[in-house]
Subunit: 245 residues, 2 copies
């Protein structure tokens, strides 16, 4: 058995997210598994580094699968991109040791979130960013980011109900860069809870717009009450950039 | 009568181009005129700086129209973006002197063309660039650009049949910049003939790929024979960036 690692880019607009549901037609995992079946005759479950939400995007999702196929890495790369829909691109196929597991071995991830901060909309980035018309105070948002960096229990910034597993995560870095009306946020950490980046973003936006005080960060990190954080920012602004191993 | 100048951005993928055809549903001009009619009750023809091809895009198309409406510039801006489809954005509305004419007064234009130069496709820029899988020799393409700059009869690089009007145009600058797999070409000049940028791009690509010699530029500028230049590059990579007045 060979173990193949894929790096996958996708425009998530048309999809219900990464993870295959009963009907395989509307998920990225389902689309890739269908092509693998066409190419190899094998019915294989591919393992992603984690789920991505309906409508969210990826520039560097990682997955692996085991196959007896003798197709080369380059042949797989070419055939994936020939048969996948044009909003899903396999960027790299590499054979890895049998023990490699895209989810268990992931040591960290980088996500991006794009905010179009202008009263005038954007024709080109309309499905890849979230428009906020109110002026945002970047200095306040940066101060909020500083409070988030470090190891904390992020349960209050997630869509999880109480969890038996640990909800402690480490955020290594959050950056904000501006190019014209586009604000680009990046989040690097050892792992992110369900909807955590979108809820952090929704909270940062409400702090930047002056609708929530900076102190809400410390408060929710301490009391873990989801309803005291900001709204969940829409999935269309979210990108999984990279998975670290 | 007030004369209003619009700056318009559009993702041309769904449209038959700028210019209204019999059926107004599939052109950018038609969409804007329909909204003006809704807002003012007036049936008005708007004047664009020039046509753009079916499937081509704009970041800064300019148009003007005359109206008796008393709506303010800001009200027009807000209402355009409320009622236009989300792939057409009015970026600016300014009242201008009555004599301003978006086409006759245009002194020059800037176009961009994006080439995705990689065997692996792009999920995000797939409708806003043209994929070329062969390696391209940038130095050769830059040498070709140098030959194009200046005042020449560009008839051989256009889709015009013989023309009564002058087909002489001045190209002031062509730049090529690279970011990862994306090549970004800009063309600045006092005017461009029908399909001229796309035919220049098709020719530059064939020179870069080694399928046409550098000398084809001088040859077609001299003999004006369209069939000796390169193919017409697809409209999906073309953007009208700016119109100069």
């Amino acid at each position: 058995m060979r173990n193949l690692k894929l790096t996958v880019e996708y425009d998530g607009k048309r999809y219900l997210g990464w993870q295959r549901l009963g009907d395989s037609e509307k998920t990225i995992q389902g689309k890739i598994e269908k092509v693998i079946q066409q190419l190899t005759g094998e019915t294989i479950e591919i393992i992603g580094s984690g789920r991505t939400d309906a409508g969210a995007h990826a520039k560097g999702q990682v997955a692996n699968f085991k196959t007896t196929s003798t197709l080369s890495e380059d042949e797989f790369l070419t055939l994936f991109n020939r048969y996948l829909p044009d909003d899903i691109v396999v960027k790299e196929v590499v054979e890895v040791p049998e023990r490699f597991h895209a989810r268990y071995n992931a040591k960290g991830k980088q996500y991006s979130y794009y905010v179009w901060n202008d009263v005038v909309p954007t024709a080109f980035e309309r499905y890849h960013s979230f428009q906020v018309v109110e002026p945002l105070d970047l200095a306040k948002m940066e101060a909020a980011c500083e409070k988030l960096v470090g190891t904390h229990d992020f349960l209050g910034f997630s869509a999880l109900k109480k969890s038996k597993k640990s909800t402690e995560r480490r955020i290594d870095e959050i950056t904000i860069t501006q190019e014209g009306s586009m604000l680009h946020f990046t989040f690097v950490g050892n792992g992110f809870l369900y909807k955590m980046v979108r809820i952090l973003m929704g909270t940062l936006i409400e702090i930047g717009a002056g609708r929530l005080p900076l102190a809400v960060i410390d408060q929710v990190l301490a009391n873990k009450i989801r309803s005291e954080a900001g709204e969940t920012a829409p999935a269309q602004g979210l990108f999984l950039d990279e998975v670290y191993y």
